[in-house]
């Protein structure tokens, strides 16, 4: 061969035509050509040479609309203006946001289309890039040095994979996890082995999120029969953990960590297993190791700080919280916990002035937004203030903070989450108040009337406040109130008084807004109403809003998935008849588990969003 242009076997290299070179070089099943030319691209890298290189590569695809940013801030400004189809983003962007923070903020603020491809480019395989490290995973990773061929191959592959996963992702956005699991099976049947492992992983997650650990386990075992994937092993471990088999779970996670020291998710689970066995020192040590491996994760540093605080390891807590604040500066996941935790640390070091300063800062930063976290910021800051004074031995000021909190609680009947309520009550008792903390604890019991573990914990708080018998009586009364609320709804429903039952449950929800059983019953009755009296858009909306709330309070409930499926089945579809399900049984809710289990919170997918900001070319 003399002429280089003809040097390569034609079958191997279809042509110099870049679009052709993208199709697999071997005669495989014909895949439709992806139209790369008309898409919008964003390249983010702080090095101009790399931006030019990537731009040239994209141009050889025919791409015309290519924007560039040299920093995380610039990238966010562009992402705000335009819905890009493809984002190529370097992890390391110098000063300011890093690539992961750009991704997280873009996802949380829904600046990416569901079909958008986000490719993270990094100098090396980092811990964050091995599965399990980050909550928000990019669609693909590219390790430098980047070459055109690899970039184009990966872009094609991730685009195709997104197509396969798209209907499933849509079901996840709608929180219809049972439908999503069925769609996984359909896609496996359609695509064969190509995406099998990815689809099985997705299917297992759907079973987890719909409260079917037994079926999730089957899928994980199916994967492990083929290959030892750490995430499948970890999946089995998590199910063990949820079942309270802490020692078995510990062994499984220990094995994963021994084989792959960077599988960060296993450390978090290992720490939970130790905590479950009451071995808090060990749990703390594991969290410390995890934080060293993945030092740039805000939630990981926060967890470490809180664990260290519980262990009384003040220097470690301080270090973790401070790191958290530094990291949070550019992160959308910045949250007040680190400020409050650091304030406690300052209190324990008798630096109350600094502690108060931090509390002021936290309120300024987080007190003005909307959402539950922001609404209760003043309460949380006040609780911490009381604890800071209490722990630094200043009982007079602790009492004053307690009284101020008391006044705030009496002025506004809204109550924060159960965990914060318990914290408030503990602090109020500690400074010598009685009525308000008792009332707050009763609120918690009413909202968790079937959670015996939590009630034991609350009884202990009463005991410590020397209110043993009064406390026991109050707990009983609060529990009965909740049961009565529920039962009255069921009586109305059984008597066919659907309108009244719906009304009753609305009232019940204002009284026990966090009671998952009441919320489930409320949805069940709404579903009944629609089944018998026809679809109603308002009731449909109401049911979905309640389910949304339940999934936030206690994710991974079986009854959630069933109800979500029933609600979706009621949507009027011209060609399909809603399946006639068996009558629901609100008096005996299917969920008979004794206590809510710590289920890891699933990452919420951004919902669909139209691309209004498309520019005209």
């Amino acid at each position: 061969m003399t002429t280089p242009s003809a040097a390569v076997t034609p079958a191997a290299f279809p042509a110099a035509d870049a679009a052709l070179a993208l199709t697999p070089p071997m005669p495989v099943k014909v895949l439709e050509r992806i139209d790369w030319a008309s898409k919008n691209y964003l390249i983010v890298d702080d090095f101009i040479g790399v931006r030019q290189l990537l731009r040239e590569s994209l141009r050889s695809l025919g791409a015309k609309n290519i924007d560039q940013a040299s920093s995380g801030g610039e990238a966010m400004a562009l992402l705000n203006k335009l819905r890009y189809d493809v984002v190529l983003c370097d992890y390391n962007l110098g000063e300011g946001k890093n690539g992961q923070q750009v991704l997280e903020e873009a996802r949380v603020r829904q600046l990416l289309l569901p079909s958008s491809v986000f490719v993270m480019v990094s100098a090396e395989k980092s811990v964050e890039s091995v599965m399990g490290a980050a909550e928000h995973q990019p669609d693909a990773y590219l390790v430098k040095p980047i070459t055109e061929g690899v970039l184009l191959t990966r872009l094609n592959r991730v685009w195709r994979k997104k197509q396969v996963l798209r209907p499933i992702d849509q079901a996840v956005v709608e929180k219809d996890f049972l439908r999503a699991a069925r769609l996984c099976d359909e896609q496996i049947a359609a695509t064969g082995k190509t995406h099998l492992i990815d689809l099985l992983r997705m299917k297992a997650r759907m079973f987890e999120r719909s409260g079917q650990p037994a079926r999730a386990r089957e899928v994980y075992e199916q994967v492990l029969a083929q290959r030892e994937y750490h995430w499948a092993r970890a999946g089995l471990g998590k199910i063990r953990l949820a079942d309270g088999e802490f020692e078995q779970a510990r062994q499984m996670f220990q094995t994963i960590v021994a084989e792959n020291r960077h599988y960060i998710d296993a450390y978090d689970q290992l720490a939970l297993a130790y905590q479950g066995m009451g071995q808090h020192e060990e749990a703390g040590a594991i969290l410390e190791r995890a934080a060293r491996l993945s030092p740039n994760s805000v939630p990981r540093q926060r967890n470490l700080g809180q664990a260290a605080l519980k262990l009384g390891n003040i220097p470690l807590a301080e270090k973790a919280f401070r790191k958290c604040l530094v990291l949070g500066e550019y992160s959308i996941r910045k949250n007040p916990d680190a400020y409050l935790g650091l304030a406690r640390v300052c209190g324990m070091k008798n630096e109350t002035k600094d502690a108060l300063q931090l509390l002021l800062l936290a309120q300024r930063e987080f007190g003005s937004g909307s959402g539950a976290e922001h609404e209760f910021m003043r309460l949380r800051a006040k609780v911490t203030e009381g604890l800071v004074f209490h722990e630094s031995g200043d009982e007079r000021n602790a009492r004053r903070a307690g009284e101020e909190l008391d006044a705030m609680l009496q002025q506004d009947p809204a109550r924060p989450s159960s965990a914060i309520c318990v914290e408030m009550a503990t602090m109020l008792f500690a400074v010598g108040l009685k009525d308000t903390p008792s009332e707050v604890l009763c609120h918690v019991v009413r909202n968790n009337h079937d959670n015996t573990l939590l009630q034991d914990e609350i009884q202990k708080i009463f005991d410590k406040a020397r209110l043993q018998d009064e406390g026991a009586a109050m707990i009983r009364a609060a529990r009965k109130e909740a049961v009565d609320l529920m039962n009255q709804g069921v009586v109305l429903w059984k008597g066919g008084k659907l309108r009244e039952a719906v009304e009753w449950m609305r009232e019940a929800r204002t009284q026990v807004p966090d009671n998952v059983r009441v919320l489930f019953n409320a949805v069940q009755i709404l579903v009944s109403h629609m089944k018998q009296r026809g679809y109603d858009a308002d009731l449909d909306l109401e049911a979905r809003a309640i389910l949304e709330r339940v999934d936030k309070l206690q994710p991974g409930q079986g009854r959630f998935a069933q109800l979500m499926e029933q609600v979706n089945a009621l949507l009027p579809k011209p060609e399909e008849e809603a399946a006639a399900d068996a009558a629901p049984e609100p008096s005996k809710p299917a969920d008979d588990r004794p206590a809510p289990k710590p289920v890891s919170k699933p990452a919420s997918k951004p919902s669909a969003r139209s691309s209004r900001a498309r520019r005209g070319y």
């Binding site: 280089p4 697999p24 590569s57 061929g149 084989e259």
Partner: protein, 234 residues
């Protein structure tokens, strides 16, 4: 203890320097590929020199990648090994794309014999790196043909890179035979090619399945009569 044996500042410094070097090499080889792609020996007087520059840039790139992987403790639990399912066709496509301009510029023909829909479970970046390095290496040894085959064998997958040159020199074959014994058996002073081979061996060993591990060996002969680089994965 997690990041090997250095102070954190030094590690950060090394990491950011490596990042810079990778950027430079990306730009260098991307630019050369573009220039070569637009030119031909007839139109461009410096064509052979440019081809040589690309070859040397690739060698630089491979060595840097291998050194960094060794620094990150490739072959040990400390390396962030990332196994994913991937179709053989996808993997080969990347190797082909990486080598395309270099092979064209050297007038070398690449034959493929691949079962494209075969699903492998591998760390894609590592395996693409190893196979692509084997192809670059074959560019040095071959006369004018390189053959890349991927096929299912007993208990696994075999990837072969073969050429029609004079075969590997005896010292290199000897080194290949020592791979199972780890770095101790390789004389890096007299044998710079040992690094690539050692890296390939470590990468292969990281791939395990049901008690079996991947392996690398070198042979002379084969269908094209030259050197054969053989990577087996369980």
């Amino acid at each position: 203890m997690e990041e090997p044996h250095h102070a954190p500042e030094l590690f950060l410094f090394l990491a950011s320097t490596a990042h810079d070097m990778k950027n430079s090499i990306s730009v260098l080889s991307g630019t050369l590929e573009r220039l070569l792609g637009d030119a031909s020996p007839q139109t461009e007087k410096a064509y052979p020199q440019m081809a040589q520059m690309l070859y040397q840039t690739r060698r630089l790139n491979d060595s840097l990648m291998q050194l960094l992987a060794l620094y990150k403790q490739v072959g040990k639990p400390g390396y962030p090994f990332d196994m994913q399912p991937i179709e053989t066709g996808q993997l080969v496509e990347q190797v082909v794309a990486l080598g395309r301009v270099l092979l064209e510029s050297r007038g070398i023909e690449l034959e493929l014999e691949v079962a494209p829909e075969l699903v492998m479970h591998v760390d894609e970046d590592l395996i693409v790196g190893v196979v692509s390095h084997a192809v670059n290496n074959a560019v040095h040894y071959t006369r004018d043909r390189i053959r890349l085959t991927v096929q299912e064998v007993d208990d696994g997958i075999e990837i072969r890179v073969e050429d029609n040159g004079d075969g590997f020199p005896p010292p290199l074959l000897a080194t290949g035979a020592l791979l199972d014994k780890g770095a101790g058996g390789i004389d890096f002073l007299t044998n710079s090619a040992g690094l690539g081979l050692y890296f390939a061996g470590e990468v292969a060993r990281m791939h395990r399945h049901r008690g079996r591990t991947g392996a690398v060996r070198l042979e002379n002969g084969g269908p094209l009569g030259g050197g054969c680089f053989i990577l087996t994965l369980p």
